[in-house]
Amino acid sequence: MPAVVLTLGDDISTDVIYPGRYMATVLPSETPQFAFADLAGFNTRLKSGEIPPGSVIAAGKNFGCGSSREQAVSTLKGYELTVVAGSFARIFMQNAINLGLNLITAPGFEAAEGDTVEIVGEVIRNRTSGGRFAVLPLPKARQAILDAGGLISYTRQRLLKTLRTTDA
């Protein structure tokens, strides 16, 4: 049962998730070390390996606002975290779908650190508090990319399909 490992408020910017001064680091294999670098305690816990994959960051509205930097997604993907938020900023959401970071949109979701959660159908349940929150589906445009396993494989498939069509 996944546990909430960090709670945050509204309008958490990509500057908070992945500070600009680390942007020269671009590869998904290298970005995880700087996740929430300015929240030193949480960054240390992530790097220590004590936070299991699937753990939950709980946030308010407009998570991931600001810069389009994809590092803000790859840095969380590196730990296979799940972000549950009231809403997400557009570019962050698209980047997350493209890279396969698990996002759950659940308006009004409330949790404290240490709470455990489970997702049943279209509801996310906080098992510790007993609260239940509706999960909103992803925008319809995004599903095909998820189904393909991310944008790189989706684009690869499209590219090969286009070439086959051209050849035929």
Partner: protein, 431 residues
Amino acid sequence: MGMTIVEKILARATGRQVVTAGEVVEPAVDLAMSHENAALVINQFLEVYKETGLDPAVWDPARVAIIFDHRVPAESPKTATNQKKIRAFVAKHAIRKFHDIRGDVGGICHQILPESGYVRPGFVVVGTDSHTTSHGALGAFAFGIGATEMASVWALGIAVNVEVPATINVNVSGTFPPFVGPKDLVLHLIGMLTAQGANFRVIEYHGSTVTSMSTSGRLVICNMAVEAGATAGIVPCDDETVRYLRDEAGVRDIVHRVLPDPDAVYDQHLSIDVSELTPQIACPHTVDNVKSIDAVEGKPVDQIVIGSCTNGRLDDLAMAAGILRGRKVASNTRMLVFPASGRIYSQALEQGMVADLVQAGALVMNPGCGPCLGVHEGALGDGETALSTTNRNFKGRMGNPNSEVYLCSPAVAAASAITGVITDPRKGARA
């Protein structure tokens, strides 16, 4: 049923008569811009081609632009090595819209694209930078994307699975009071809408104030549309757009005027009268925490920054130079000026603005993004306060989470430089 300007652009870019908000479309891309994060785009682009047996080839090198601006000149061996890799890619793929670290044709991407004539009304422009919204100032549908999405664009030439956004119609009327301008307007609008008020939607600007606004000002109001969450900001093409393209961007070919239909359907209508607008300040740590200047006047400031893709253009520098000419930057503050491009730097030199600013005590730096996002030059100390004409004030934005950033217009920044505290330029500053 009529179409908004973005619906019209997307209809054209998909070869259809009509598209409607909420539909999923795959528009052809007219211009695809990256900066130093092209290093990641290249990595993802090569991933796409892995095990396909195909040679990686950019779909149309003439539609790809790469501009070095985030860390120029390189601040570290890591950045310099990334820039070197990008140069090699640019050469291999014959990408001509490449702007290296140079004093003549270099600068910030959101100034280089317009001034080089790369953006036209009706274009679909994507950029691996959230402030790509800027280019709506020329009547293009321009929006920010991530690096992997850009790799997909480089391979396919289309933006895959784009949901046609709904549009907010913002009508702006009235004449700006002295020392109040486009930056104050857009900060006021962001305060009204909130940081998420325009999420997944476009802001289409109309009204007499916008019609009489220069392209420089339109770039400001479109640039910061993203701070209300908007996918794009856009000003319908008019005579000023054509004038800018002809006189300042050297465009000679036909300019197609893509305009919204009179009966276009909007998600929301807003009206703003600027005739009583005061200088606006975005206070820490969100851009929508906007107050009239009287609420924060007198706040001591350690560093003042004028520049960036938002306010580093010639009219911004002229405003600052006019206020500071013959005056001095207060001894308890420091002032950094970053022109938006090499061309603007040259013009500011020729017109004496650089001398005015330097003699007042400002440091005039090379064009670049560095201090705005805390990656290069102009770091803040613990507990320090910055007053900046840039576009974001998130915690840690300027590189130090133990500092504060206030956002303002060039007039407020320059007036405050003289006093060392946040100062209303309407009180005693001279144009």
